[in-house]
């Protein structure tokens, strides 16, 4: 079975100020094992909502449809169970955790996931060795391990820290929610390298982006156009080039 992630007719809403607003309106998306897919779409099309719903954020209420990953009903699982299953969300705005040491946080996360996957937990020494290797690879200073998670990190440092977590947690489905926004070329490369380094037959990725720019470094298998809470067009990498040149207008008109 090649369908790794299978989303069918997914509907989700968010309740704010006493009124509920439907954001995902029957979304279909399938990502086979080993493929990298990109979702592009205008602001407000529901891209971030999709990533949060897949990762298990509780403020979104799923009102219809389904999402299966590795044959399991993703929507029934707690966020930590999804992480253990291999889902990883790189946040658009990584959260700051004052008072939580980055190295402790990373080790706690890695060991929680290892334990849930039936692997042996890492002791402090072997973890630190691994973390140093990975920070070196990402051109991060070792100091960042000693600081509180994301506190006082620049935008680029926060994104690197996301990629570091992704590398350490070894997901089988990495969802990147506009991880490229606000990054310079060097940081963009690091994010792309992070994804590319994990690419393989057992790794899939859903890359959500605004810009074609990231796709200079990550070559996707499929590109989907999202608008009004649904996928309105899917195609090969050429779709991204087309979007860059002509914008969303033609797709929106065709879907209307």
């Amino acid at each position: 079975m090649s369908d790794f992630l299978k989303i069918e007719g997914l509907k989700a809403q968010i309740d704010a100020d006493g009124t509920s607003k439907e954001i995902l309106k029957g979304l279909d998306l399938t990502i086979p094992k080993g493929e990298v897919h990109v979702i592009m779409g205008p602001n407000g099309s529901g891209k971030s909502t999709l990533s949060y719903v897949l990762a298990g954020r509780e403020d979104y209420e799923v009102t219809g449809g389904s999402a299966h990953f590795k044959g399991q009903d993703l929507l029934e699982l707690e966020p930590e169970e999804r992480a253990a299953l291999g889902v990883f969300l790189a946040f658009q705005s990584p959260v700051e955790l004052p008072g939580v040491n980055n190295a402790n946080f990373l080790r706690t996360a890695v060991n929680a996931v290892r334990k849930a996957r039936g692997e042996e937990e890492l002791d402090a020494v072997s973890f630190l060795k691994l973390a140093r290797e990975e920070t070196g690879r990402l051109s991060m200073s070792g100091e960042m391990l000693k600081r509180a998670v994301n506190v006082g990190f620049s935008g680029g440092e926060k994104k690197r820290n996301e990629v570091l977590q992704m590398r350490l947690l070894k997901p089988s489905l990495a969802i990147l929610d506009e991880t490229d926004s606000g990054l310079d070329i060097d940081a963009l490369r690091i994010v792309a390298d992070g994804v590319n380094s994990l690419r393989g037959p057992d790794f899939s990725s859903l890359v959500i982006t605004h810009h074609q720019r990231l796709l200079d470094y990550i070559v996707p298998d499929r590109v989907h156009v999202m608008a009004h809470g649904r996928i309105i067009h899917s195609g090969g990498p050429e779709v991204a080039t087309l979007l860059e040149k002509q914008g969303y207008k033609q797709f929106l008109e065709a879907a209307a």
Binding site: A55, G56, R57, E58, D59, E78, P79, E80, R82, A83, A84, F88, L89, F91, P94, V95, L97, P98, G99, V100, N104, F105, T108, A109, A112, V113, A116, A148, Q165, L169
Partner: protein, 399 residues
């Protein structure tokens, strides 16, 4: 008044004998008394509090051995209000003076019920004296109380002469439904430095009315930290008076309140001289039906120009039924002062919780991590490294 006919009042005044006048005539403070509005004592009324009987030294020693104390230079043990000489030892530079018959309320603590109760029923406690220029290192004081319907009223006095230093770890624990009412008088002479760490882990059924009165001389420092964690109703009251110029005091605390318990940190920081500084950070974590109280007053006399005061109290509510009552007060008579204060009450941040869980951290562990993070900054204010580590181990979900 009906309080005066209560079993507690009759027993306590009876025990106090001719000192009963020190207790006043009003009975145990009710909600109507402003200082006790959030921590009323009527629940203590029904018990005829008796003198706590002596405990067996061997049993006391066993309790102390189980405490995993940090490496220390001296140990003072009190059990049920009595000094356990055989279990105690002190560094050579210190002396323990015999307890005199000091039954008057220290002027600094006048009008405070906990001090009146202690003065009326006072039992001899530690009388420590660190001579000029000596560093007595880390002294641990353990006060153990066991029994039901009994009360202890130890009175300690700590005197640091000019330039002397002492770190005191003050551990209070016990078992049963008892009342403990310790008082500590602190005198820091010029350039003396006392770091006083209280770890209050009394029995969950115990009532505790503890009070500290500190007088600080020129360039002296009284640095106090309280971990307020036990007791069904427990007030830690600190009155710190900056009597000499350029002196400093810290009155920091962490309160961990669960079950249906009440923990209270009440303080008065009195800037009575110019150019002094005070720092106060109090963080309270409340779960289940816990009730937290913070009452913090900063009083700046007219003479105390160039005062630099800082007060922050923050509470984390982990349950909808938990309750925090905060009452910060500034009373300033000088015109050239810098005093800032702030208070926050909130729940755990859902974004932070989701971030941790999305990385595979189990929900309960994620909550513990965030609670620990909330408390960490305050524990880090304790200067003594091994004491800091000792306290960190007492926090929920420590690794």
């Amino acid at each position: 008044m009906s309080e005066n006919s209560a079993a507690a009042w009759q027993a306590l005044t009876g025990r106090a004998g001719e000192r009963a006048a020190l207790l006043g005539t009003e009975g145990l403070p009710t909600r109507r008394v402003e200082a006790w509005h959030y921590t009323p004592l009527q629940s203590l009324n029904g018990i005829a509090w008796q003198v706590a009987p002596a405990l067996d030294d061997a049993a006391v020693k066993q309790r102390i051995d189980g405490l995993n104390l940090p490496t220390h230079d001296g140990l003072l043990v009190f059990a049920n209000g009595r000094f356990c000489k055989g279990l105690s030892h002190l560094p050579a530079c210190m002396d323990v003076q015999e307890y005199g018959d000091g039954s008057a309320v220290q002027p600094l603590l006048a009008g405070r019920f906990s001090a009146g109760l202690n003065a009326a029923l006072r039992q001899p406690g530690a009388r420590l004296h660190v001579p000029v220029g000596k560093d007595a290192g880390l002294i641990v004081m353990v006060s153990l109380t066991e029994g039901n319907g009994v009360s202890t009223h130890l009175h300690h006095s700590i005197t640091l002469d000019e330039g002397a230093r002492l770190t005191l770890l003050d551990i209070q624990l016990g078992e049963g439904q008892y009342l403990t009412n310790p008082q500590m008088d602190v005198h820091c002479a010029a350039n003396a430095h006392l770091s006083h760490v209280t770890k209050q882990v009394e029995s969950r059924e115990a009532a505790r009315l503890a009070i500290v009165g500190a007088c600080i001389g020129e360039r002296g420092n009284y640095d106090s930290f309280t971990l307020n964690q036990g007791g069904v109703l427990a007030r830690q009251e600190v009155v710190s008076q900056l009597s000499g110029s350029f002196s400093n005091t810290n009155v920091n605390a962490i309160q961990l309140v669960d079950g249906s318990r009440l923990n209270d940190l009440s303080s008065m920081i009195h800037h009575a001289s110019p150019d002094c500084t005070s720092r106060q950070t109090v963080r309270t974590v409340l779960s289940e039906n816990g009730q937290g109280v913070f009452q913090g007053k900063i009083l700046v006399d007219q003479i105390a120009q160039k005062t630099d005061g800082y007060q922050m109290n923050q509470a984390l509510l982990l349950s909808e039924k938990a309750q925090m009552n905060s009452k910060p007060e500034l009373e300033i008579y000088a015109d050239d002062v810098k005093c800032s204060h702030g208070a926050t009450v909130g729940a755990l941040d859902e974004d932070q919780l989701f971030y941790l869980r999305s990385r595979g951290v189990l929900e309960e562990q994620a909550r513990d991590m965030l609670v620990q993070a909330f408390l960490l900054e305050t524990v880090e204010l304790v200067e003594h490294e091994s004491l800091r580590d000792y306290l960190l181990k007492a926090l929920p979900g420590h690794v």
